[in-house]
């Protein structure tokens, strides 16, 4: 077993929560349907049985109060992990996220800390349409004081969640609803994946693909396809969207001279817009082609499976973008 063990992302997250709750009694979970039901996507299943209802709390449907209470508990010595069932519901709790959690430390002259993890999930893939399928990380990237983490593998899911829980800042931990059952290597022991550090998933020399979350997996598939044509792509999985790893991205672009940024969220004002602007600022002279953005279409996510699939990047659109940079 040991290092060869494989887990799903869902189980890796569950294990991270268990390990941290065992290690540190200040860690507790609360949210809608997380205890008896085990979480809308099953991440907290079994925690109630192990830790009891004091530390695994079902709440009323009160997103603002859940996050607000997480803040208050975090400011006073606890390390809450609250679950926001869908990232789309951030809208009704946004004041607590961006006006309170993100700003408290700064507003209070550095004298407070808010070690709060807001676990949530986003993205398309379940045909649950406009209000349950969004990728809102650009909102959080635009919010100083927050960190935003979006893993794509079981290994990272566990290691990043442990890091997020041990971090003294509010962390938006955004899982992807379509990849919970993806399996991959995940060691049993205690380990962390540092927040803010990207992973080079695949080294390459012709073009750099920058992505994260589910789109990192599609970017890998695109790189496979392109490899068959003799095009060597470097695939960077950011893992953390805020603060994102500028160093690794710029260093890679300086080698490949081409950059393609892939995200599921809508294009305008998106994460790719920011990364592309940074590449322009820091590595303009290195570029042999305009930076390409492959992103969600600027639209509302539709219900139809056909339309839903058309609203987000696919392997073909990533492949096509890489080819354009090589024309």
């Amino acid at each position: 077993m040991g290092s060869s063990r494989e887990l799903t992302i869902q189980d890796a997250l569950n294990e991270a929560l268990r390990m941290e709750m065992r290690r540190d009694e200040r860690v507790f979970c609360m949210g809608e349907d997380i205890a008896i039901y085990g979480g809308a996507y099953g991440v907290t299943k079994g925690l109630l049985q192990e830790f009891g209802e004091e530390r695994v709390r079902d709440t009323a449907i009160s997103e603002a109060a859940i996050i607000g209470a997480g803040i208050g508990a975090a400011m006073t010595g606890m390390r809450p992990v609250v679950e926001l069932m869908y990232v789309d519901f951030a809208g009704i709790a946004m004041d607590q996220i961006y006006n309170q959690a993100a700003k408290i430390r700064y507003m209070f002259g550095g004298k407070a800390k808010v070690p709060l993890v807001i676990r949530t999930q986003g993205g398309t893939g379940k045909q649950i349409a406009a209000q349950h399928s969004n990728s809102l990380e650009a909102w959080f990237l635009h919010t100083p004081g927050l960190k935003t983490v979006m893993p794509s593998t079981p290994y990272d899911a566990k290691g990043l969640l442990i890091s997020a829980i041990r971090d003294d800042n509010p962390v938006m931990f955004i899982e992807h609803k379509a990849i919970y059952n993806e399996k991959g290597p995940c060691p049993e022991g205690d380990y962390t994946v540092p927040i803010g550090k990207a992973a080079i998933r695949r080294p390459g020399k012709d073009a750099t693909i920058v992505s994260y979350s589910r789109m990192a997996l599609r970017s890998m598939a695109a790189a496979d396809t392109l490899a068959g044509e003799g095009i060597s792509c470097e695939v960077i999985d950011l893992r953390t969207v805020s603060p994102w790893d500028t160093h690794v991205v710029i260093e890679s672009v300086a080698r490949t001279h081409r950059a393609v940024i892939v995200e599921e969220g809508t294009r305008t004002g998106g994460v790719g817009a920011e990364i592309s602007a940074r590449i322009m600022e820091l590595a303009f002279d290195e570029l042999d082609a305009p930076v390409e953005r492959v992103a969600g279409v600027d639209t509302v996510i539709p219900a139809s499976a056909t339309l839903e699939a058309a609203a987000i990047p696919n392997v073909e659109s990533i492949v096509a973008a890489v080819r354009r940079t090589l024309l």
Binding site: F28, E54, R55, R57, T59, A60, S62, E63, A64, A65, I66, I67, G68, A69, G70, I71, G72, A73, A74, M75, T76, G77, M78, P80, I92, D95, Q96, N99, Q100, I104, R105, Y106, M107, F108, G109, G110, K111, A112, K113, P115, P144, G145, K147, D167, D168, N169
Partner: protein
């Protein structure tokens, strides 16, 4: 003597406690009068939500709290911060945006916070701190610390969404919170009866089956008694109480308010029940202190406020090089 702040209050109503409260009410009043002076002189532009008229509420509630208890505060929060034990110098410097301010000039009047005294912060968002209060109380309960939370908010906040969410959560989990509603009859210009269907906002508690009380917010002794009584219930695991304090802000909502929504006659009537007078009269009647003592405290407090003002005015501006410090904890 500097105002000794809410430190280990005697458990009974002693002359010392009465004097402490009188001193605190006067401290808040004179602090706010100094703010008014600064506003009129253009020394400050923000920070004009003054607490004049409502001093007995913060004072009576905080006199019932332990040092390590928490409060959450509002946009009208100078009085809460002082009553919980804040240093007038550091609070005033903060309102002036100075480096020596309790939040190093980052928070200002709207975000006065003082974690060392248990003040989890004023809030620029009406209703914004109600969830935080619930969470601090949850934390106290989980840590078994015996702490309670006094959550201050205005009549305007009872119509926000998070108010309902936090009231409900606090009751379901029987968290140790005093919801201290300062009903000063108006949320900016909108009177309570134009904003709700209620006469007594304490009735909001009924919907959550939460204990409730209505208190004369001009009478610090009444506030103290309620806060002690319900505070001890909360401390011993009996859950939250909604305490509505009927009060009045003597001035406008903020500096720019022409007060068109209320009459001068109404203001005159409320001013007759000035919390300073109510407190001093009772203390003298009971023989806890005499007029000379009141005058002496007044001049002592005036000196403290002058000293705070001198400190705040002469303090350095924050260094722009520190603009982005402390966005994140290391």
């Amino acid at each position: 003597m500097a105002p000794t702040l809410a430190r280990n209050m005697p458990r009974t109503l002693t002359p010392d406690l009465a004097l402490w409260m009188l001193r605190m009410i006067l401290t808040i009043r004179m602090f706010e009068e100094k703010m008014l002076e600064f506003l009129n002189a253009g020394v400050i532009k923000g920070g004009s939500h003054l607490y004049i008229g409502q001093e007995a509420v913060a004072t009576g509630v905080c006199a019932a709290l332990r040092n390590d208890d928490y409060i959450t505060s509002t946009h009208r929060g100078h009085g809460h911060g002082l009553a919980k034990g804040g240093d007038p110098k550091a609070l005033m410097a903060e309102i002036l945006g100075k480096a020596t301010g309790v939040c190093r000039g980052r928070g200002g009047s709207l975000h006065l916070a003082d974690l060392d005294t248990g003040n989890l912060g004023a809030n620029g968002i009406v209703g914004g701190s109600l969830g935080i209060a619930a969470g601090a109380a949850l934390s106290a309960k989980m840590r078994n610390s015996g702490q309670i939370v006094a959550c201050f908010f205005g009549d305007g906040a009872v119509n926000t969404g998070i108010f309902h969410e936090a009231m409900n959560m606090t009751k379901v989990w029987e968290l140790p919170v005093l919801f201290v509603c300062e009903n000063n009859l108006y949320g900016m210009s909108v009177s309570v009866n134009r904003a709700t269907g209620l006469t007594d906002l304490a009735d909001r508690a009924d919907g959550y089956r939460m204990r409730k009380a209505i208190v004369d917010g001009q009478d610090v002794f009444a506030v103290l008694e309620a806060a002690r009584h319900y505070g001890e219930i909360a401390r011993s695991g009996g859950g939250p109480t909604f305490i509505e304090c009927k009060t009045y802000r003597f001035g406008g909502h903020s500096r720019s308010d022409a007060r068109k929504y209320r009459t001068r006659e109404e203001e005159r009537q409320w001013r007759e029940r000035d919390p300073i007078t109510v407190c001093a009269r009772r203390g003298i009647e009971e023989g806890w202190f005499d007029t000379a003592t009141v005058e002496q405290i007044r001049s002592e407090v005036a000196a403290i406020i002058e000293e705070a003002a001198g400190f705040a005015l002469s303090s350095p501006e924050p260094d722009p090089h520190e603009l982005t410090d402390d966005l994140y904890a290391a």
